[in-house]
């Protein structure tokens, strides 16, 4: 028996060392670091925030389960609810102003750029400059320009005969939020402009030539051919505006107006409310559980917006093969 076995072993050709078809460990190695960091520092904190919002802190530092108690407080306790609804309303106004000013302006600039006038490259590059700057810097720059102390805005309006129009907009309850929104529009209009411009460029020239042969004028081509084809991009711009409105706008308001959203909370938004609730300010001590509750509410509000976009808007916007 043993003989037979050794025999067969020896009869084999000398085995050249050959690599086997690989296992699949490399897939794990490729994925693990990204998934790990992302899970620990992004997904886990989100879930943990949701969890924290279901507890209430005691004076001895321990936490007690309150279910939706914090949410009830936020939405109905007179002290909280007025601030919450005010902040949410301000956020929606902010969003609205971006939708009616920033995005149409971005569309206009992109449409003009896509006509490839001379210096298009220079215009594009320069209009994008504000987007690169820190919101903090932008905030201060505009604060100085609009400041009655310096009087730059006043002087310039005066020069064109509109001096009577001037008011310290950032300090007035009626105009502060609009002023902040327009500063944000000024800073970020480059992003929709670029996205829409890229979409316009991706429309094949032959299609536009065909429209021209069909007798459409430049304006008609824009409305009847280009616009329908870039609708998906406009959808993306809208949802990006919605999300950015809850996050990026904090930096601007915090640096121009501070954490209280003055005057009289007229520029208080969800971001400043969350910051204040979490860390506290003069009259109020910080509360991580209420802070987590505000954050979770923002999460749900964003989720609602994203869902409306995905279900209601995106599915209806046909993506054409180009």
């Amino acid at each position: 028996m043993t003989d037979v076995i050794t025999d067969t072993v020896e009869r084999r050709p000398t085995p050249r060392r050959k690599r086997r078809l690989g296992g699949r460990t490399h897939i794990v190695v490729f994925l693990a670091p990204a998934v790990l960091i992302y899970t620990v520092f992004s997904i886990y904190p989100l879930i943990e925030s949701l969890r924290l919002s279901l507890f209430d802190g005691l004076d001895d530092g321990s936490a007690v389960w309150t279910g939706l108690g914090n949410y009830t407080t936020l939405l109905s306790d007179p002290n909280w609810a007025v601030r919450f609804w005010n902040a949410l309303w301000n956020n929606l106004i902010l969003f609205f102003i971006h939708m009616v000013v920033q995005n149409p302006l971005g569309l206009l600039l992109a449409a003009l750029l896509s006509l490839a006038p001379r210096f298009a490259g220079a215009y594009r590059t320069l209009i994008f400059v504000p987007t690169l700057l820190s919101v903090v810097i932008v905030g201060f720059v505009w604060e100085l320009i609009l400041s009655p102390l310096w009087g730059v805005a006043q002087t310039m309006l005066g020069a064109v005969g509109l001096g009577w129009l001037y008011a310290p907009w950032l300090g007035l309850e009626s105009s502060a939020l609009t002023a902040v929104s327009l500063i944000s529009v000024w800073q970020y209009v480059g992003i929709p402009m670029m996205l829409i411009y890229a979409a316009l460029l991706s429309i094949p020239d032959e299609l536009l030539d065909a429209a021209r042969v069909d007798g459409l004028s430049g304006v008609a081509i824009f409305w009847k051919v280009k616009l329908p084809l870039i609708l998906p991009t406009l959808g993306i711009v809208a949802i990006l505006t919605y999300i950015g409105n809850f996050t990026a706008s904090f930096d601007l308001i915090y640096s121009i107006q501070g954490v209280l959203g003055p005057p009289d909370y007229s520029t208080d938004i969800m971001g400043t409310l969350m910051f204040r609730t979490f860390f506290g300010q003069q009259t109020q001590i910080g509360d991580i559980h209420m802070g987590a509750t505000v954050a979770s509410m923002m999460f749900f509000i964003i989720l609602i917006g994203v869902t409306i976009y995905l279900v209601g808007v995106q599915r209806r916007l046909t993506r054409y093969e180009m």
């Binding site: 490399h26 670091p33 998934v35 992302y38 925030s49 700057l133 820190s134 002087t155 954050a295």
Partner: protein
């Protein structure tokens, strides 16, 4: 001869004049908006080189012999610690970008290249973060950083920014990698390269242009962020430029030349970099990556 020519000429002449008129309109709008976009920046930088009297007396004038002054810069460089802040911002931005690009490309490669059971699910999980801002988890992130003893370290910012930048990086890169020819990777396999070397030696060189785009996309929000430096790393040793400027201005509100100088110090390097890289940046933004 002359009788047959007119209709043709007239039509083309009218067309031409309408076209010149339209072109002028286009330039009017674009140039006008370009002025609006640049004016505040120019104004601040210009006035930062003036003395107090020049700033208030003639805000719109160029600095001249009487108003030129570097007093603002002297204050900033004397009082603020801007070299350190710049260093911090640079470390945080570069390290985060490196991790986002490397880990993002690795994950995107795995998702685009290999068939495995959790592929689709994991892909959706990774890009969830595009929709949900990481800031909403701030409460828990701060606790986590306290537990890990990372508060007031640059590492805490790097980790958070990496987590924040990964979803969009994975999304853009995996979309692009799916369009890469399968042949070239197969060819490398036939040539005997391991899966790791295929990634580093074949795939990475092919995606370099897209990596640049992702780098630009990820860099701006990191460099400009105020929220996380404020919350996680506000100590003097770990301040970033954005936070440094913000706090410096808070202290020196009445010293206008110092405020303007500190703003200019924050703006000018970014503009210089932009002047160098704007071509790549714009090409990146308008190229295939965002059409998807």
């Amino acid at each position: 001869m002359t009788q047959t020519a007119p209709p043709e000429t007239r039509r083309s002449r009218r067309g031409r004049s309408r076209r010149t008129g339209a072109a002028a309109g286009v330039h009017l709008v674009l140039a006008g908006y370009t002025l609006i976009a640049l004016f505040p920046v120019v104004l601040v930088v210009m006035n930062s080189f003036k003395n107090r009297r020049g700033i208030f007396g003639d805000p719109l004038g160029l600095p001249d012999a009487r108003s030129f002054s570097l007093e603002g810069y002297a204050t900033v460089l004397g009082e603020g610690n801007f070299a350190l802040y710049y260093g911090n911002s640079l470390i945080v931005t570069v390290a985060s970008l490196f991790l986002i690009l490397l880990l993002g490309a690795m994950a995107a490669h795995a998702l685009a290249e290999y068939r495995f059971r959790l592929n689709t699910l994991l892909g959706i999980y990774m890009i969830l973060g595009i929709m949900v801002p990481i800031r909403l988890g701030t409460v828990a992130i701060l606790q986590l950083m306290v537990d890990l003893d990372l508060v007031n370290t640059l590492l805490s910012l790097i980790l958070v920014y990496t987590a924040q930048g990964l979803p969009i990086a994975v999304f853009i890169l995996s979309e692009f990698m799916r369009t890469l020819s399968r042949d070239i990777k197969d060819c490398a396999r036939v040539d005997g390269l391991s899966e790791y070397r295929i990634f580093f030696e074949v795939v990475l060189p092919l995606i370099r242009p897209v990596l640049a785009t992702v780098a630009v996309f990820s860099m701006i929000p990191i460099w400009n962020d105020l929220w996380f430096p404020l919350i996680l790393a506000s100590s003097d040793a770990t301040k970033t430029v954005t936070l440094g400027v913000q706090q410096f201005i808070g202290q020196y509100t009445v010293n206008w030349s110092a405020v303007l100088a500190s703003l200019s110090i924050a703006i000018l390097p970014v503009l210089a970099l932009y002047a160098i890289f704007s071509r790549q940046l714009i090409a990146g933004i308008t190229s295939g990556a965002v059409k998807g």
